[in-house]
Symmetry: C2
Subunit: 287 residues, 2 copies
Amino acid sequence: MRLGIGDDAAWLAPDLVVSVDAQVEGVHFLPRFAPYDVLAERAAIAALSDLAAMGARPLATLSSLILPRTLDDAALDRIHEGLARATERYAAPVVGGNLAAGSELSLSTTVLGRTDAPLLRAGARPGDGVYVTGQVGARALGLRALLADRRDDALAPFVEAWIHPTARIAEGLALRGVASACIDVSDGLLADLGHVLVASQVGAELELAALPFAPGYERACVALGVDPLAVALDGGEAYELVFTTPTTPPIAATRIGVIRAEPGVVLREPDGSIRPHVATGFDHFRA
Amino acid sequence: MRLGIGDDAAWLAPDLVVSVDAQVEGVHFLPRFAPYDVLAERAAIAALSDLAAMGARPLATLSSLILPRTLDDAALDRIHEGLARATERYAAPVVGGNLAAGSELSLSTTVLGRTDAPLLRAGARPGDGVYVTGQVGARALGLRALLADRRDDALAPFVEAWIHPTARIAEGLALRGVASACIDVSDGLLADLGHVLVASQVGAELELAALPFAPGYERACVALGVDPLAVALDGGEAYELVFTTPTTPPIAATRIGVIRAEPGVVLREPDGSIRPHVATGFDHFRA
């Protein structure tokens, strides 16, 4: 039996992994961002993303809701609808839950999954490629737009991306036996890659020109007055997988760099120079 | 595979059960009741009690904490100490967790356990004896004393009982294959027995004279001005097991009644008369 904290989920032998994630109103989301069913669906997907990062197949979820007394029954119904939608989509039925009163809405979701070969943070080796699924920065930009109450044409797709994330379950399963290390981007690309590097006792060099931006991303960043690269490197809640592998991955993913023996992260500009980077740290509401 | 909500924990095949419970400051406890380590230990034991009710052996816990920004690091350390104490005592190591900011302190604890023969709420049959472990009313009285800020000699043992509950893990394990139905008392003796009766589609007759009161319980109730019987029947957070069995149980427990075919609960007075009972319902702070 293997027990412990340190990966996205804990690996409980022989094949069980388990993780918990919480979202709090006013800290992770505001009611004006989306209807409650969508916010609840999103909270469950964020939790399920940790199973993706472990290369696990979802088995079940448990939901602990803390509900302000001002929340009406219709809102609670919507929350349950959203949880049901997410857990049906990922075949992770809700098998338990708890309701408690409190002063603010919070949703803690425990997810259980199965895997015969969990993906861990430790295991990246010098020479391995560094890959990311999907795009970088898109959802973090969407959150910034929501906080600024901007949903104009340039920003709307990114707001939509934040509201409707995907847990990369299929990708995680396909990476078993292929990825030498894996994590999902919840705190930020550099922050989460940093967890892999520390656990693996290696460093990485990233090619900034290789970062996969969504169409219109840089234009939308300009429209909102934020730095595209800073949002891409430090913005959280992407729920994309960042992984390392010595081979060509069997899934759609972009190679953004390489693992090095020397600790730390080097950011390489297109002209070959090295960009200094001061991590700003990701706070949900200072995304 | 068996999945579903309705028992104290969900039974995930082949032998895995899982449950979640939450405690919120201001709803389930106040900081003045006890130091944070003790309150956190208690929250974990409350969650583990659901494993006891299922006849399961604890395997692991996950903790989702929502922390007000005013809570200092020392308090967080104490919370972790208390969780560690409970999870060590019950051999249920913390294998995952989540910290999130919020406006009030809450502790959601997910517990995983193993059992080859889970105790369920359904299964009580007419003629089975109804039993309870430990004493009735003691912890609910302790909570009332805490709310009234009374810790004088008569009440101190009950305050102590509320602050330091026990999860009846050993008793639950011993009842596998013996109890026809089982539940833990979290909402109140009558309310939780009611869950068993509904799930089993039976009723029960309880002998009020048989209710096991702790030494000094009635005197302490008088000192606080509360009705001993009402507190015993409707007070929650006892974390004792209420179970039914056709045989003599192999653990220390008190026979308090018998299962009948007719739905509902009959409360029999010592003189043979039937006591009308209006359930008041258990609210943690109107115990």
